[in-house]
Amino acid sequence: MDSKVLAGLVADVLKTGSQQTLDAEEKSRFYREFESDLAEQVEQMRSEKRRAYEELKNIAIK
């Protein structure tokens, strides 16, 4: 399995001591993997908020 793009970038800076820039392919991989890692969890959180709001929205606060 490939290492994480950001960790690879940090490792390259530590090894060379010089500035490193992600090329187009690595950059694209970072955004793709990040979305893949987080999208489902974020949607679950938002879905839970929507469900909880629907349950509560008609309750009176005095």
């Binding site: 950001l6 970038l9 940090v10 490792a11 500035q19 490193q20 999208a39 929205k57 606060i61 005095k62």
Partner: protein
């Protein structure tokens, strides 16, 4: 009749102060119902604890909020309800003159002596109107973060008080939700440039499209949907956070989760409307405005973990909310600057919280929970298997032990962030980066701190070893971070003085990384 009167009181003598206020309470006006003096009693206790030694009574004040309440409701009465209020100003200097103007001039020359004011409405059942007082003394135990500076003009002299506005519901034009929303909008008016509605305007905004009975008198309160509508109309995001299932008993887990969910907003200075549903009681709204500090929490709240090598032992991350207890609230039916205990029978407590609504700006698309999730993922992605990656090439440095960490997430204005960085002990090259990097108006900051010494944060003894900045005007899964700063403590193979910044260009998404000084510095203390 004199417009001003001066009173001397004994510092710390609550009974004397209470007697003075009782003598001033107006007994005319609406007389139905039992008087609700609890907020005023707790306010007196607070003023007394601030060391008040003199009081200036200002009569016939045209308080804009009560005038709006009067216009909307009390002016319709056949009974003549007065339009004007009394206002009491408090000072911690003794009055050496009974001449009001001499007294005002002397106090103006000692600006720090001003403790704030309490407005008394001519409504006997709920007398306490607009109130702004200094927060409790003792800064290391009380962090009242939702506050602002308010100018007060008295007889040509200008005074200033930093505090959180408070008022008691009048139980006719507005109930607890309106009172809490008013407090939040008043607090944010100058900072956010948004509307500060009167309680009457809040009721109008809440009931404009969603009517569930008579809007005036509004003794039935508001439903949650009306509250979110009022916030939206006032220019804030109607964003609700679930904390506990309605009907589910509060447990240690739900209380811990509530503290975790609420703390980032409190630390950001964002007031939060917390909806409490005590067992067998009606729903009630309070305003969360600050927190205390528990130096020795019974346990630490985990924030997940990260792996810097393939060993079985991940690095543990703890949540900064572990040290936050209790929260402080303004509760319109009990008083200002009161602690909200975790769980206490017969008293409103954090365990009663079912939902919360932070006064989040409309341009913040990533909420606190999403910001935390995103920043922790970015931290993990920046360090995952770093040992293996670096040792393949080798840096020649001795591998250091990886520390246990505490993360703390808050929303901060870029100008405040830059000012804090500039005055910190951060290395110059890292400071220069932050000073010149383009940043949006507001940013989510996730501080990375060492667990070792974190309990001494209020004294400035804790060590911050990095931070992640996230663009709040984005989607969490898009990875739109602004920068990731990793100090040498986070880089086991780096020299003790070497850190790394990963910089993402907010406009084109380009990502670069470079070495900077990697020393430790202190976390933000507000």
């Amino acid at each position: 009749m004199e417009r001003f009167e001066v009173y001397r009181i004994t510092a710390g003598d609550e009974a004397e102060l209470a007697q003075l206020l009782q003598s001033l309470l107006v007994t005319k006006g609406m007389k139905s119902g039992s008087p609700r003096y609890t907020p005023l009693e707790n306010t007196i206790r607070h003023i007394s604890s601030l060391g008040a030694k003199s009081v200036l009574l200002q009569k016939d004040v045209q308080d804009p909020d009560f005038l709006a309440e009067h216009t909307a409701y009390y002016s319709k009465w056949s009974y003549k309800v007065p339009r004007f209020c009394d206002r009491l100003h408090f000072f911690d200097l003794e009055a050496d003159s009974e001449d009001p103007l001499e007294f005002i001039d002397k106090m103006a020359a000692n600006q720090d002596s001003y403790l704030g004011f309490v407005t008394l409405r001519p409504i006997s059942v709920s007398p306490q109107a607009a109130t702004i007082l200094k927060p409790p003394n003792n800064d290391t135990k009380h962090f009242i973060l939702s506050k602002d500076d308010f100018q007060v003009n008295i007889a040509g002299q200008r005074f200033s008080v930093a505090g959180t506005p408070f008022m008691q519901q009048d139980n006719a034009v507005g109930a607890c939700a309106q009172a809490s929303i008013w407090m939040a909008l008043r607090t944010l008016r100058r900072k956010e440039g948004q509307s500060a509605f009167s309680p009457a305007q809040i009721t109008t905004a809440a009931t404009r499209f969603l009517v569930r009975g008579r809007t005036l008198p509004n003794r039935g309160g508001l439903v949650v949907e009306q509250i979110t509508e009022a916030l939206r109309t006032a220019g804030y995001s109607p964003h609700t956070i679930p904390l506990r299932e309605l009907g589910q008993d509060a447990t240690e887990e739900t209380i811990t989760a509530s503290r975790q969910a609420l703390y980032p907003y409190v630390e950001s200075g964002i007031p939060v409307l917390v909806l409490l549903f005590p067992k067998d009681a009606e729903g009630h709204a309070v305003l969360l405005i600050g927190h205390g500090w528990d130096k020795e929490p019974a346990s630490f709240i985990k924030n997940g973990d990260i792996r810097i090598d393939s060993s079985e032992n991940p690095i543990e991350l703890y949540d900064a909310s572990s040290w936050v207890a209790p929260f402080f609230i303004h509760n319109d039916n009990t008083g200002p600057y009161l602690p909200l205990p975790d769980n206490m029978e017969g008293q409103y407590s954090l365990g009663d919280a079912v939902s919360a609504i932070p006064f989040l700006q409309l341009d913040i698309f990533v909420d606190a929970a999403e910001a935390k999730l995103t920043c922790h993922r970015l931290l993990a992605d920046s360090l995952e298997d770093l040992n293996k990656l670096v040792s393949n090439g080798g840096t020649g440095e001795q591998v250091k032990e990886f520390p246990v960490l505490v993360t703390r997430t808050y929303l901060q204005d870029k100008s405040e962030f830059r000012a804090a960085i500039l005055s910190s002990d951060m290395e110059k090259d890292a400071k220069d980066f932050y000073r010149s990097k383009w940043l949006p108006k507001r940013i989510w900051v996730t501080e990375i701190n060492l667990l070792d010494g974190y309990s001494e944060s209020p004294e400035g003894e804790a060590c911050r070893v990095g931070e992640i900045l996230l663009d709040p005007a984005s989607e969490p899964e898009d990875g739109h971070f602004l920068s990731i700063h990793l100090g040498s403590d986070l880089l086991p193979h780096a020299k003790a003085t070497t850190g790394v910044i990963i910089d993402r260009n907010a406009f084109d998404g380009e990502i670069r990384a470079f070495a900077v000084g990697g020393s430790r510095y202190a976390p933000l203390v507000r």
